[in-house]
Symmetry: C2
């Protein structure tokens, strides 16, 4: 590796100018550095490449021209490598790989994309639904560029922005007696049969909500998908506590559900966006910004239900 790119650059610009001094001026270095770069190239190949004529500058011989051509080619490749690398960071092209543990992500992600991706763009999205741990592992392993996940239970090494804190709300069938109240209490909920969203963090979180209550709601069903929970509720199998809300009250089963805030003061779940905050690719940066803006404006009033509103 004695022959460095720097030496090649000095060498080629010197040949280009036919003068060590001029090359040095253009490169903003001392002439002796250029001279020694030429020496280095010649030493590398153990060939005389340049005829140095005092007071007349330098001139390549045939082999020198040949080597210079090859070096310039390599330098071109190098420059385009740098440019491609910069593109990788700066451009809006490429693949954006997102892992999410956010059951209602379909309710907002399309709108986020709309905000920062042109209608026709060179971006390929890779969306992967997973659980909180998989998401964090994937981010740390470089599988995902960004993850949407629940900040409760975040690993120390993950960098993230908080998008929204979502307090729990109560979900009931449209025929439920509590449907006419503006808010419900945990005490009221505790008497209802409950459909529990049985996913990593959620299950213990919902469990914890009852810890200050004298009685706990009986569990009518466990289901590990949000839509199954909603549909079971709509079908009258029980009620549920969830945190984030799709934009429709209709469910897969055909019947609607009704959501009401809970008046008790309860810990919310935090939806967070994890990504490389120190040096993100441009597209990741833009995605993060779009997420933040989405939840700073339209988001909160649509996907969460708060009793303080």
């Amino acid at each position: 590796m004695a022959l460095t790119l720097k030496a090649m650059e000095y060498f080629t610009t010197a040949l280009h100018h036919g003068s060590i001094v001029k090359a040095a001026a253009e490169l903003n270095i001392a002439a002796s550095a250029v001279s020694s770069a030429i020496d280095q190239v010649e030493a590398e190949f153990d060939l005389t490449l340049v005829i140095r004529q005092r007071a007349r500058g330098i001139q390549p011989n045939a082999a020198g021209r040949d080597v210079a051509r090859k070096c310039e080619h390599l330098l071109d490749e190098y420059r385009s490598l740098l440019i491609e690398g910069a593109e990788l960071k700066k451009s809006h092209k490429g693949t954006l790989r997102i892992g999410y543990y956010a059951p209602i992500a379909p309710a907002f992600l399309p709108q986020v994309f709309e905000a920062f991706l042109p209608n026709t763009s060179d971006v390929t999205l890779e969306l992967e639904e997973c659980n909180n741990d998989e998401a964090q592992d994937g981010l740390l392993a470089g599988t995902y560029d960004a993850i949407l996940f629940v900040a409760e239970g975040v690993r120390p090494s993950i960098e993230y922005d908080t998008l929204v804190t979502a307090p729990p709300y109560f979900l009931m069938p449209s025929s439920h007696p509590l449907k006419d109240q503006r808010t419900v209490t945990m005490a009221q909920i505790a008497t209802e049969p409950l459909i529990v969203l049985n996913r990593p963090i959620a299950a213990s979180y919902y469990e914890g909500l009852f810890q200050s209550e004298t009685r706990k709601a009986p569990v009518a069903a466990y289901a590990n998908s949000t839509e199954m929970v909603r549909s079971l509720v709509a079908a009258g199998r029980g009620c549920a506590i969830l945190n984030m809300l799709p934009l429709t009250s209709e469910t897969y089963v055909g019947a609607p559900v009704i959501a009401r805030p809970i008046s008790d003061s309860l810990p919310p779940l935090t939806l967070a966006l994890g990504y490389d905050r120190m040096r993100p690719r441009r597209i990741v940066q833009d995605f993060a910004k779009a997420c933040q803006e989405h939840f700073a404006t339209v988001g909160p009033t649509r996907c969460i239900i708060s009793h303080e509103e």
Copy 2:
């Protein structure tokens, strides 16, 4: 130029091994050097390229793999540049450019080439007849790889091997009265009308040969090509003094000439081979060797005439 080839090499071998330690072992450097090389590459693009997991080694993310691929490509190009450069020096391919001030070069150069070039080879010969100064200028300017020239009057900066020292000989028509002598003397020559080879060094050299004689040969003609001199001699216009001898006594005019050594002790002309002796291309080196061997063996007995033989 912050991103050096070395950094790229360390980076790519680290990714290849999935381990900084193993890469360091292979590269025979400290692990910290590899680690910092990775840092350099990441800093250059301001991107996270590698996930470093303690106790488990390293793993590239998508961008890292991308960059690594590009870097490996550049390294490949670099390696082939080095190889091509080495070929330039070592291989028998390419163009061999020879300038010569040696009027009878056609008498021996073909045999020299036979000795070191395979019947079918990738070598292109560029042979250029010129005078002594042009030859030396061309060598210094890199126009020629090697020159055959007369060492008398050599520039100080030219490196050369002496191929043969050629004493002057006497050339006469086949009908000449002196043809039956084994040798002739300068005193005898001084009475003959002379055909003088009128070329840069030769003219003054032949002039000088008479300086110790009481009388000088009358000049019947000046001619600036050897074959014209020989043909004039064959046609009976006079005699000549030359130094090197073709392998035929026939001349273009159709008649033969007869050569005889001169018994006086006279300064010879030195045929020399000038080239880059410090770091020649392989093919130039080989050519030089072939020239030396040619004149060390078959050459002296064929192209020169000595009265000492």
